[in-house]
Symmetry: D2
Subunit: 273 residues, 4 copies
């Protein structure tokens, strides 16, 4: 079991939590804490072995009793998380997720792939994943996509180079559950065609950023970023090609962190253990 | 000798240049070419051994004859370049240049250090470099600084964390000769306190950028950039401290490239061989 | 067309080659040279547009005439290269090649996959690649594998985590054509289970190395290497899992360099343009 | 105050330690734990504010009572650590430590510099550090160096490119206190001239390793490592020059970790919080 606690920092929090767990014979396997001094906020992630199989509910109540009222407590069983993937025409991020899923490198259930194009449907078929074609020419594509996602009910929605902006209603329904890959080192090059922007600026490094989606374009909490060196010989098409590796790796890294319950979101930032 | 040629791309340029050099018994030791397809512009950097010590002037004329009229031809003897360093209160970039200068790791003459503060004067003295104190409280600081630089007449002016904006007149006088270190991964976090900006945005990577100064703040041609990973445990002060290594390395790298005549500036970009 | 020349260094080589090409109206699109001072050996890679479609043979003869006798001259048309992949049980390198092949990210023909196990056969089928099962329990597996490779006649043989040592006869038949991925930062941790070795040594960085195979185990010319930081929390199984990304990327990078004719092999090293 | 505890792992250790600290009103500011599953060993590093200024001794005793007998407990006040630097002829690591010391970037006292050469004496003088010249031509150089170190009694001895092997007696006297920088990515290229070895092998990455000294050459517990990409254009002298930045950074990083009490040594590895 994995327990995530965040709350206003106070003396003795670790002691209190460890007391409760000890009383219930829940052995701590791994424990991480962090205090954000700026907001005086405490974060704790604990992996336990629950020897007597005490129910999630009972553990929750016991923790609730000893922690301040406004504390966030989340307890996760060790069961498999699920995702829905939204993509457009580019294959590299989707392909990487699919092959790593297929070879069990990412331990996740893929409940479906939704796209506004048909060209990646054959990939979905190859890996036996349901594929839903919702073109953006349809006026209500966002609503249809939202309804499909609600029906599939995944742990996370992954935007694997989905070239559409989700409306606020959608984002609100899946608050802190939508992960996007942006093909630049955010906050540089927000918006369309970041490689072209990077080329025009003459940068010597390009990057990619995985982040949660919120209502402001490319401004949600950053999960992870990576970069690579480029030089004057790179056209923007070369940057785009070279950047695919970074995008793939950063997005899959973010998915892994999310499904392993390693991410806290606090204000506009992530705390990652 | 080092020859830098850039010109509109045409067929046979390499052949023509190599003919001229062969005729004068200038053996090519190292040769780099690049064609920017977007602007159809040709760049060539050639290191030669000038067996018969033919004069720079004669080589220039011979190349001029066979190259298109509008070509830029620069010929550098293998003599030592010089710099003037402008700094404010932070010691790390200046200190790194000085110690590498002192131990002959950077092969450059330092003609002087100009600062708007007195606190680094002791460092200049340690390494026997003339130190000029020009406070920014004086109305004509920019003009005085410019006049001092003109008097010292360096190959390059290095802004080693100089926290003042040079006026257009200054920049124009030392066009393509002023190198700045900006403590962010440009174009992210232009302007003041980029580490604070980076912290507020919650980035997972911080960086530094060495670039030539032009009239737009932090927008000149980028020479080199580097980055490091950070995480949620970094306050912005931690980022600032950690970033010093990146700043130091990137600035010194840029100085080395400049004094070794390895940089072409083309429009708002650099070509670096 | 791509022309690779390597020969004892002499004055005027670039001039001579550029003369010949100019005479045949072959425009140089991209040109790289390097002189290895230690062995006084010259390397040149030239991409040309062959306006009048002059035959490969004619170009070869023209270059042969003006270059020293012992020169190596290779001319490649812009046609697609082919590979045969040898693998054992691990899916990640094979999977990455297949998905990048399928989505046209690597522009290569895969003539077949040979394995000593059956467990990856389903992957080959998914991507419609012929799969040949040659178990190592059979005494003549090496000979059978060699014969199959000769029949398939690929440009390169890719060992994508093939856990068998190829006999000298095999290596000789495909001299400088067999690329292996070794899951360590060579020359550290030669031989079996490098991640276990790395864990036992307590390293803080793990890596992977793509190299050509020669007769000495893990000692062939290195093509590319990459690394990642690890720390004390990594078991060797964690290193193995984390290292997969590095292995994948390094192997595919090496394949790309090989099929784009960017690699010279000189003694026990590679020159890569 | 900083408390380092390591002991055989048992249930309830965090709880017990946090109880003791809470009882003495020592607020936990930062806490890190790690359990090495292979050896079933527990590591804990805790930064506390000691509100009532309870003595180190009293805290030690209280912890001793509740922890298993064989536990290692170390308590450090927040006072400045000291180092003695041993160097030979190369200036870059020494210079970097001195300039960072001078500009307060490393918060350490340098008690002295010992060298078997005179050429860096001027640097010591520049920064007002006592310099002791003990040439290796003297038969008892090791004993003399040891006696000088014992007299100076530093927290750590830093081998900043000290090209001599310290005898076992020396190493034993300063067990786990001697930090060396080796100019390769250990365990590759143990022993003399690693850049030459790296060049001969044709590697595409070079590195540096900071490690504690033990009785086996270049085999002590690794503290940190870093690398940089090289290519065929690098001679081994170029690698040596380029590697200086990596050496400098890695050595200073190790010094910082050591003086901030962030390193546990366990068997032949380090646990670093």
């Amino acid at each position: 079991m994995i327990i995530l606690i965040d709350t206003q920092d106070k003396e003795g929090l670790i002691h209190k939590v460890s007391s409760v767990l000890l009383d219930m014979n829940c052995n701590i396997q791994k424990n991480d804490e962090f205090v954000d001094k700026e907001s005086n906020h405490f974060f704790m992630r604990t992996e336990i072995t629950n020897v007597y199989q005490i129910s999630k509910d009972k553990i929750y109540k016991s923790l609730k009793q000893i922690l301040p009222n406004e504390s966030n407590i989340k307890i996760y069983e060790n069961n498999k998380k699920s995702i829905v993937i939204l993509c457009s025409k580019e294959a590299h991020c989707l392909g990487d997720i699919l092959i790593k899923y297929d070879t069990k490198e990412i331990d996740v259930e893929i409940k479906g792939i939704i796209s506004n194009h048909r060209n990646l449907e054959y990939l979905a078929e190859k890996f036996n994943i349901p594929y839903f074609y919702i073109p953006h020419t349809e006026q209500n594509w966002a609503e249809k996509t939202l309804q499909k996602c609600k029906l599939l009910n995944p742990s996370f929605i992954i935007l694997a180079k989905y070239m559409q902006i989700l409306p606020p209603k959608f984002v609100k329904e899946f608050d802190n559950q939508i992960i996007n890959i942006h093909h630049s080192f955010l906050p540089a090059f927000i918006g369309a065609n970041p490689y072209k922007q990077a080329y025009d600026r003459g940068v010597k490094i390009i990057g990619a950023t995985a982040h949660f989606i919120n209502d402001e374009l490319d401004c949600g909490p950053i999960i992870c970023q990576d970069i690579m060196q480029v030089n004057h010989t790179y056209t923007w098409k070369d940057m785009q090609k070279a950047g695919k590796n970074i995008e793939r790796i950063v997005l899959v890294k973010a998915i892994e962190l999310a499904i392993e319950n390693k991410i806290f979101i606090h204000r506009n930032k992530t705390i990652i253990f």
